[in-house]
Structures are given as structure tokens and as C-alpha cells.
Subunit: 147 residues, 4 copies
Amino acid sequence: MRQLLAEYPVVIETPVAWGEMDAFGHVNNIVYFRYFESARVAYFREIGYLTVMEETGLGPILASTECRFRVPLTYPDTVLIGAGVPEVGDNRFVMKYRVVSVAHGKVAADGEGLIVSYDYRQNRKAPVPDAVRERIATLERTVLPGP
Amino acid sequence: MRQLLAEYPVVIETPVAWGEMDAFGHVNNIVYFRYFESARVAYFREIGYLTVMEETGLGPILASTECRFRVPLTYPDTVLIGAGVPEVGDNRFVMKYRVVSVAHGKVAADGEGLIVSYDYRQNRKAPVPDAVRERIATLERTVLPGP
Amino acid sequence: MRQLLAEYPVVIETPVAWGEMDAFGHVNNIVYFRYFESARVAYFREIGYLTVMEETGLGPILASTECRFRVPLTYPDTVLIGAGVPEVGDNRFVMKYRVVSVAHGKVAADGEGLIVSYDYRQNRKAPVPDAVRERIATLERTVLPGP
Amino acid sequence: MRQLLAEYPVVIETPVAWGEMDAFGHVNNIVYFRYFESARVAYFREIGYLTVMEETGLGPILASTECRFRVPLTYPDTVLIGAGVPEVGDNRFVMKYRVVSVAHGKVAADGEGLIVSYDYRQNRKAPVPDAVRERIATLERTVLPGP
């Protein structure tokens, strides 16, 4: 199962809650975006992004996000949620997500988000802070050695 | 239907969302507490509680809450949610709630919350501010003339 | 504001709930997908999709969805949520969504979903039922006269 | 921490999600009822209630529930949620809940729910099935030896 998440340096685990299933008897689609968000925040903690934000005023904004549903989730189950950053641009980067069902040993969903660097003091887009850029590079390398 | 809400000076209206139903095909129990919260916040706006909080540091904390479920809700429907304050003590007051199903013309749930007055600057319980106490009295009288 | 929604034949309205704001003080990203879902279900009711599903076993599955965030939403506000179908394929169609903030008179978010036609009795993809295809065509024309 | 949960024979664990915090920066009140529900469903699985329901048509309905908030929860944290049944009546029983913050080593909330036994085939209240009554007795004894 970890193999399915090999390209995702940050992985969190959370139980599926019965009450997250909707009237069709599957975990409701909005819950997958909660999964993505939880993995995104864990990734941000891992690279100290929130500390950078407090010190410099430069923080992340979620500009867009998407999800491709593969296998429906049902209670009881546990999901592993991976997050990785495949691309960093000047003032934005892409984060990818993967949700794996432990009960099925399969990918339940894949997703992506575009995160923009924002200067909260001057209210405008800003470059991705160097410290953030470097820690992303280190974190991704650690887990994903090049060929 | 308004008669069912005669004792609730603040009433808000909201559509039932399909996605709030759970695997039993009824609106999930936690959604009722979202309804209560929305009515509570509307009541607080009505009496200017948040302005008082900004000026004095004295604001509300939800200490406890409960719900008695009467008739299950399903999509499609619209609910009316009423809030009223039957009792004000020295440093706390009781708020009662009622959820009415428009489709059924019936009470779907009744509830109650205990709200404690808190001094957010000194981190301790505090008396209910006079301005809040007076506006509650006025609002409740307006709608509920005594015998 | 209706002009912003001119290309969306189905429009629903819902109040922003205070409790849907997250720790950043904005309506949390997952709530937008609840908005999309509510508009999608309203659209399906408008074209009688669920009746077709009961009769034929052919129903919709959400295969993927995305959201582009434009303006943050805050309480108090009301949103209008539009849904439209710009493209119908053999066994799938695209639904587009738009969320408009009444307080700001602006588009808060745009989105899209890919819906696949599924035979729930035989557990496989299926053609979009003719009745559904025709009602979509009628509904879209009604609101969107061609050039 | 387990000592705080000694009287709760079923205990589940779940991480606090960042997105469950509201604009006050604390886990929103409705989330506690999701915690209670997850522990309730885990308890029902433990005693095989859903199997009994399929066989006999007699299942549980949540008639009322309440929560007393003790310590606010914030991300990051993990909660342990305990469920126990202190009282079983003819056609109803009481379930109690406790939420413990791992980060604080303290009780974050206590709660209670009234569960009514319902005959889903005949649509009326029904006695608590003997199998359910016995398994509750066994489960509670296992964990809570009498004096």
C-alpha cells in the first residue's frame, strides 16, 4: 500500500467516519477535499510554512483544486492520504494528493491543488519564499531520489 | 407554521441540502447543531453581542447544548430555525431552539444551549454585560408580551 | 447578478452559515463542493434524472470535479449557485457550476464536474439515457438560445 | 489518559482535522457530535446491533443527545472517544460519551444520548432485543467489574 504512496513524501492516516457517508451509502464527495486539506496542512507543517508566514507575512492561498474519484469509500475503513509537490513556480506551486483505502488496498482518489504565494501584509501575490522553496526541494528529494 | 415559532423572536430559514443526509437517508444528527448555531449567531447579531464583545472583551461561550429529535428531515425541504432566550442569570443564560420542517408543517427538533459570559481579556467568567441583558429583554418582550 | 448566471439554467440560493468558516475566517474550501452538489441535485430533479434512474437502473456517477476560487466568502452573505450542462457525450456529460456572492455582487467560484452514466443493475458504464439527453437539451435551450 | 476512559468499554481514536476548526480557532461544536456518533456506531458494531437489525427489523433511533464542553480542542491534536451504556430500559437505553484530548491529557467534552429501540418493519417503538441487552451487559461487565 505504501508503494501506492511512494511519490508522496507526507502521508497521514485517518479513520472513515460512518456519518461521512451520504444517502447513496458512500463517503460523500466533499469529504475527499477535507482529506486533501488535512494532508496539505500536514505538508505545510513539515516544511515550517506557517512559521515563515508569521515571520514574513507571506503565506499560501488555495487557488484551485480538483479530485478524480476511483473507488467509492465506505465505513468501516481507514484511509492513507499522501501529499507531494511536483512543481514549484515563481509565485505558485502545485500540490498533488492521493487517497488510499486500507480495506481495499487501492487508490480511492487522486487530486491536485494550485497554491499561490500571497503577501498578506500588502495584499498581493508574492514570490514563494526561499525557505519554503528549499524545504520543499529537500523534502521531495528525501523521499524521491532522482534516477 | 409561524405559530410553532411564536416564542422564538429570531427565526432564520435555510434549505435542506441533499448531501446532509446520511446513509440512513435522513438529515444527519450533527446538522441540527449547525442549525442551532446559525440561529444563535443570528440572535447575537440582532442584539449586537459581537460589537459589545469587541468593545469590552466580554463575549459568549457555549458551555453545553442538547437536541431532542422529533421528525426526521429529508431532502427536499426547507427549515425554519427559531432562537429565544427564556432565562438570563448573573453570568450565563439559556437559549432555546426549534427547527420546523416546511414540507411537513411540523417541529423537527427542539433544543437548548447554555451560554456563559466570558472575559476574553482576563480569561475568566464574567457577568452578562448590561447592554446584552437589556437588548435580550427588549427583544423577548417585543415578541412575547407577558399576560 | 443574474447576468453572472445567465448561462446556468438552474440556480439555487442558500445562506452562508457562520460555522462554515474555518480558522482563516473564510468559508472553507470543501463547502464550495457542497454548493456544487446541491446545484447538481437540483439540476437532476429538474430533468427528472432520478425518476429515470428508478425506472431503468441508469443513473449518474460523479467521476471528477474541480473548483477555481475567485473571491473569499464570509458570513453574513447569501450565495446563488448555478448549474449548467455545456457538453453531453455518449456515456458522460460535463456540468459547470458558478457561485455568486450576493453581498459582493461577484463570482466567488467557478467549477466543473464530469458525470458518467452508469448501469447500477449491471455495474458498468452505460449510454446517457435518451430521456435525460433530451431534457438537458430542452433545458439548456430554454435558457441559452443558440446564435 | 486511559484512566479517564475506564468506564467506557469502547474507545476509538481520531486525529483532529485542521478544517474542523471554526472562525474562533477551536474545533466547532458540531464536530463533537460527529465524535459521539463515531463512538456510538463502533459500540453498535461491537455488540452486533446491525446484524440483529437485519435479522429482526429492530434497530436503534437516536431520540436526543447532549454535550458539555470542558476544554476547547485545536489542531494539531488526537482525540480518544469513549462510549458506554450505563442504563438499559424496556425499549430504550442511555449511552454516555467522553472525548479526551491526547495533547492536553484532559477531558474535552462529556455527552449523553438516549437511544430508542424501533421496529422498522411495523414503524413503532419496540423492546430492546434480548441479544442486544445481553451483549451490552457482557460488554459493560467485562470492562466494569462490580464492587
